[in-house]
Assembly symmetry: C2
């Protein structure tokens, strides 16, 4: 059987960035999709997730995942609707989530997509109930080992991961101090998300203000940024502090070893004398089997308003490169998603 | 009752070192000990342990333990014999271990010394069955989580900690690669201790030789040195590698932040992309309650020759400063102890 031809709009990697990505690193293409084979489904992308880890995939430096090749579709998680199905497990109209990439349509054999339940907005499957939410939850709970009365600091506190880290830590009884860029984000973090304090990393007195907000030191630093926030945190770490490390957005655009001073010896000495644990993790590699545990904790919190979230929705696939460049600069405010289709 | 006067020979901290310690940082004194009070015991030091951590106590930089004050007796663990006892728990002639310091005699209320059993040499209570042995065992087992077939690297492989780390890892079925300074130490590590390989860190091709000795990468790096060994290890780390961190002797004498390049971003990126765990620990603070577990594992291994040890014995308390300076330079070969008294 021949399909009516579907025209796919897709964004491919045109060239590898040196430093910060530019629009020239991306290219929009329109191509006809092949016919569906038996067992396949045709997906129409509704929401595309934009996340900092994608910067790593644009480079061919050794990493935990293979790079996107030049000319290949940019990688990314998305919520899609099943448009046609030659797979008995999926029906037309089903909503699914999967790493289907920066494109308007995709063809899938059904093995790398999973159905999502009814949600107030399907984009939640890309944020608070998806990869960023699970990253926040597993890193905090498994590596952070939060205890009531302790102090937690998290950067990018208004973002997809940081906002969940802080709210879950509040539920667990910790003092929670966020770090964010600008007064608007800081106000949101304290007034809406309920953090105890939020420090603007653009402040000239950032390190002093962070110290004042942490009078009992820092027991957990949830690291999703790197850079100068880390430097201000290190002297405040308490004995037996834990540092879950899920991202380093501040250094993703770096393309050469920074000049000195060499900060490694100080970190090593702090790890030793304060008996600190620092541990990197990749959520689905390390905790993929614990998704049911995550969802059974998080879904009720979200439903009951104990964990709030904010989305920064950009309209149109063609806006994805610019929105992604802005994400790396901290321009977004909340979980960044692209609405690829309105129908 | 008046005691016959006991003259105590002791070494005090004369001044704080800037960089490597020099003989001028120490001063030998002879003082009369006060009379014994009720509940006290008079101890005569037999063996004094010299360990890298003592360098930290000579500085007043913030650390996990209070510094030795100027004019105070240098801190240190030792095996002593009870000379006189006004404490019902101790009898004349008992051997005990405790942090009694760099001196020929000490007075103790009995609460910070523990009796030691009959051993081939009482100095074993300062090495393989004491603090260094327990440091090796707990860091390897609790943080390292060794699994048969994995590859472990340990530096200072002929030393008090490294030698035990590697031998226990061999018992657990790992491939074990040591790093040591010079051909004699490397030969001993392979031929006597049974490591699979040992690389001389003085070799011009050190990083390449280490890589060749670890064809399957590194799963555990037991860090007790820091410096360039760490740099050579980082690129070889496997996903989910573990780094127990018990010491940084290579940087103990540093007194200013080293010039660049800044190695911290590379380490952070490695921790993230390889999902590495690095954790500092202080053996008695973190694992003090697990001493029975350690002794019940280690004592039979030592008795049966499965864990061998080597001591570097220096004669006379007055030699302690020079021997300690040499320890920081890697001049010792085996666990360094000072024989303070022959009777």
């Amino acid at each position: 059987m021949s399909d009516p031809m579907t025209l796919n709009q897709r964004i491919v990697l045109a060239s590898r960035p040196v430093g910060a990505p530019t629009p020239e690193n991306f290219r929009m293409e329109r191509v006809a999709l092949p016919d569906l084979a038996d067992g396949q489904v045709l997906l129409k992308t509704i929401f595309l997730s934009l996340d900092p880890y994608m910067r790593g995939r644009m480079s061919d430096a050794p990493s935990y995942a293979a790079p996107v090749e030049i000319g290949e579709v940019m990688t990314g998680g998305a919520v899609s609707r099943v448009e046609r199905s030659l797979n008995p497990k999926f029906q037309e109209g089903d909503l699914v989530v999967g790493a289907t990439g920066w494109q308007s349509h995709s063809i899938n054999d059904g093995r790398s997509i999973i159905p999502i339940p009814a949600l107030p907005s399907p984009s939640m499957a890309l944020g608070v109930l998806g990869m960023p939410g699970m990253t926040a939850y597993m890193g905090l709970m498994d590596i952070g080992q939060p205890k009531a009365g302790e102090t937690l600091v998290v950067a990018a506190a208004s973002g997809a991961v940081g906002s969940v880290v802080g709210q879950v830590a509040k539920i667990k009884g910790l003092r929670v101090v966020g770090v964010a860029g600008g007064a608007d984000k800081c106000r949101y973090v304290v007034d809406e998300l309920g953090f105890d304090a939020c420090i603007d990393h653009k402040s000239a007195d950032f390190a002093d203000e962070l110290a004042q907000a942490c009078p009992k030191g820092i027991d957990i630093y949830y690291e999703n940024v790197g850079g100068k926030v880390f430097d201000a945190v290190v002297p405040l770490l308490n004995p037996k502090a834990r540092i879950p490390l899920c991202g380093l957005i501040a250094s993703y655009n770096a393309h050469e070893a920074p000049s000195g001073p060499d900060r490694l010896p100080l970190l090593q000495r702090t790890l030793l004398t304060k008996r600190v644990r620092i541990q990197g993790f990749i959520v689905f590699d390390d905790y993929g089997d614990r998704q049911p545990e995550f969802l059974s904790a998080m879904a009720p919190w979200v439903r009951d308003g104990k964990v709030k979230f904010r989305e920064d929705v950009v309209d149109g696939l063609e806006q994805a490169p610019d929105a992604f460049i802005g994400l790396l600069e901290g321009r977004n405010f909340g979980k960044l998603v692209v609405r690829v289709s309105r129908d």
